[in-house]
């Protein structure tokens, strides 16, 4: 994993010192809130309903156990004993005091972490496949690329005041486990079909929110050496041409849509031709230095099959379920990547207590070479677990209440914090997630249903990625009451698809019934082996909409927006 060098340490410390001064000037009144707001946003500080919120960057979701323990310490000392993993692999604290935040940032800097550019109109945290470096289907580990982009984009002087936020994601496999199509720029590591040379497929113009648009291919193959120069070209075109007159039309997705992908590509290529060639040379050497930091840890040979695992799976239903859904093949024989679900039945998606963080760090030290990953599905991955240690790991997770065998199933719900926390929200999302989770708690039933991604957003900004849910739920306010619109058929994978609206909004109490109705259609009409998404693709919207509207006739409904 990447370790800070002297430059990195100095960089973060300088930023902390700078922000400490800015906070002091805000508290004294030397800075007004209007002057301070863009400064605090670029240090990840929001003002939410109840308190300030601090968003900690977890670059491409990778962190050490030392870092996880520091997050636990911060949660205990400066927050209320817990943190929240976001859909961009970051961690959020919901209750820090502004006057304490400089001290929090110093604690983060002690372990090579920061909150720089986790908000504001700048390049945000680069996210990546949570199985980066361990997935057997990878062309190449995307983390060095993500780290290169992180370094390049941190306090980039030209791109510090973009028209709007800018989000990048990186993957190293054909299977897209990072939702590239939903990002402003998506980078997929690929091999040239003729030469076999490594390079990148570049997507541009994706984004969710009030105008969801899937990213389009900008470059089918970009040589490795050209990456930063090409990204600069994209950002430069956006910085110059992106709208600044209307916040809701300022993302690059709007520019690409209004310009057209061909015309946009021409502008990028023209800008790229003017690129600084010295930067090209820099890219290759930088990438090599960075890549050296991401070697697999030394993993002793281990058996691929384990009688203890098979024996317990045969006799213990919950363990068998966990093995089936939460354990993923590792590129090294005898090992596995384990998903630790932060979606216990009735729990708050993505929340983890300080005690759980510390205990998970202990388990990661013992079973995962000291490495932990945060995923954009708001779970945790332990990436390097010996298969013959799976039983002991699971037993440890049971004690923590983190052994839910539901990865990818209907109770593995993604949810933004919603109106219970967020100043932007229009409705609550957490209670909806909890109600659905409890309705479908039966593990046998969950397995019968199979993979089904439910994603919930508490407002049009779509931080819960509801547009990409197989069932998406959007909470709005209608005539003073919470009203929920459901979409169906979304897909965040390498075959991306935006969900389709089912009909008028419904009250919160009806949402679990609505999900039941949709699941019932699927179960009644699926063919052998079909997942929910495949059945929807075959049947189309009609039967699901009929079931949804039938439910509305039985219950209370609200007019659609």
């Amino acid at each position: 994993m990447y370790q800070y060098d002297t430059f990195d340490n100095d960089f973060v410390r300088e930023r902390v010192a700078q922000f400490r001064g800015q906070v002091a000037r805000r508290l004294s009144g030397a800075l007004t809130e209007e002057e301070f707001k863009p400064l605090r946003l670029k240090n990840g500080v929001y003002l939410q309903l109840h308190a300030y919120m601090l968003r900690v960057a977890v670059p491409y979701g990778v962190l050490s156990t030392q870092q996880l323990r520091q997050l636990a310490l911060i949660a205990d000392r400066y927050d209320r004993g817990y943190g929240h993993i976001t859909t961009r692999q970051n961690m959020q604290f919901n209750w820090p005091a502004l006057q304490d935040i400089p001290d929090v940032l110093d604690l983060l800097a002690d372990v090579g972490m920061h909150c720089i550019q986790t908000s504001g109109n700048c390049i945000r945290n680069v996210t990546a496949d949570p199985l980066a470096g361990v997935a057997a289907d990878e062309v190449a580990d995307p983390r060095p690329v993500a780290e290169l982009i992180r370094q390049w984009s941190s306090l980039h002087p030209e791109f510090d005041f973009l028209p709007r936020k800018f989000k990048l994601a990186v993957t190293g496999a054909v299977a897209d486990r990072a939702a590239l199509a939903a990002h402003d720029v998506g980078v997929q590591v690929v091999r040239h079909p003729q030469t076999g040379a490594l390079g990148y497929r570049v997507l541009v113009g994706g984004g969710l929110g009030r105008t969801p648009i899937l990213a389009q291919e900008l470059r089918q193959f970009l040589p490795q050496d050209d990456l930063l120069a090409y990204l600069e070209a994209i950002l430069r075109v956006y910085n110059l041409a992106g709208r600044r007159d209307n916040k809701y039309k300022a993302r690059i997705k709007i520019l690409v849509q209004e310009t057209g992908i061909e015309a946009f590509s021409e502008r990028v290529e023209a800008e790229f031709q003017r690129a600084d060639r010295s930067l090209l040379a820099q890219t290759a050497s930088d990438l090599a230095v960075i890549a050296a930091r991401f070697r697999l840890p030394s993993l002793a040979p281990a058996p691929e099959t384990c009688p203890e695992v098979a024996g317990l799976a045969a006799s213990h239903r919950d363990f068998a379920a966990w093995i089936e859904t939460n354990v993923t093949a590792h590129r090294q024989q005898g090992y596995a990547a384990v998903t630790v679900s932060l979606k216990p039945v009735g729990g708050i998606p993505g929340d983890i207590t300080a005690d759980q963080m510390r205990a998970l760090a202990d388990l990661a030290d013992q079973y995962s070479a000291g490495e932990v990953r945060f995923t954009h599905l708001q779970n945790v991955v332990l990436p390097h677990v010996r298969r013959d240690a799976l039983v002991r790991l699971w037993q440890g997770l049971v004690v923590l209440g983190l052994a839910a065998g539901n990865a990818g199933l209907i109770t593995d719900i993604v949810s933004c914090p919603g109106l219970d926390y967020c100043a932007l929200a229009t409705a609550r999302s957490i209670p909806v997630a909890q109600a659905i989770s409890r309705r479908f708690a039966d593990p046998v039933r969950q397995r019968e249903i199979g993979p089904l991604a439910i994603k919930i957003s508490g407002c049009i900004n779509a931080c819960g990625h509801h547009h990409l849910g197989a069932i998406g739920i959007l909470g709005l306010e209608k005539s003073g009451a919470e009203s929920y619109q459901l979409t169906i058929g979304g897909d965040a994978s390498e075959t991306p698809r935006l969900g389709t609206l089912l009909g008028p909004g419904i009250p919160q109490a009806l949402v679990p019934d609505a999900v039941e109705a949709l699941v019932a259609v699927y179960l009644a009409q699926r063919r052998a082996g079909e997942t929910f998404g495949v059945t929807f693709g075959r049947l189309g919207l009609a039967p699901f909409r009929t079931a949804y509207l039938g439910l509305l006739q039985q219950g209370v409904s609200h007019a659609a927006a």
Binding site: H50, Y82, W95, D318, V345, G347, V398, G401, R428, I430
Partner: protein
């Protein structure tokens, strides 16, 4: 520095966040408090305007941020309850147990080993 006002709905109270801590506070007769029972309730337009001025003054004095009038209903026992769910949540906190309380009441997810 502007303070959010809220149309003709009365009565209203004034909510804000403490600048240094972010904690939600209400304007009282003598200052600011976390205690909703101490909230100063304005039931006339001039009283509401006075609250707006209080918010502006406190904002200018770097005591609070995001000050705004919140329409409320008064219970028979004098209790104050915001009309909008958003304001209710802002005043009393998240509508669900969270943090350690949530982990202790996690809907029965524990399984036997």
């Amino acid at each position: 520095m502007s303070v959010r006002s809220h149309g003709p709905d009365l009565p209203v109270i004034l909510l804000a966040n403490e600048l240094g801590t972010g904690a939600v506070v209400l304007a009282t007769a003598t200052g600011w408090s976390h205690d909703v029972t101490a909230a100063l309730v304005a039931d006339t337009a001039p009283a509401a305007a006075s609250l707006v001025q209080r918010g502006q003054d406190a904002t200018a004095a770097n005591q609070v941020v995001d000050a705004g009038l919140v329409p409320v209903r008064l219970g028979a026992d004098g209790t104050v309850q915001p009309l909008r769910l958003r304001d209710q949540i802002r005043l009393v906190g998240p509508s669900i147990p969270f943090g350690v309380a949530m982990a202790q009441h996690d809907g029965g997810s524990h399984v036997s080993v």
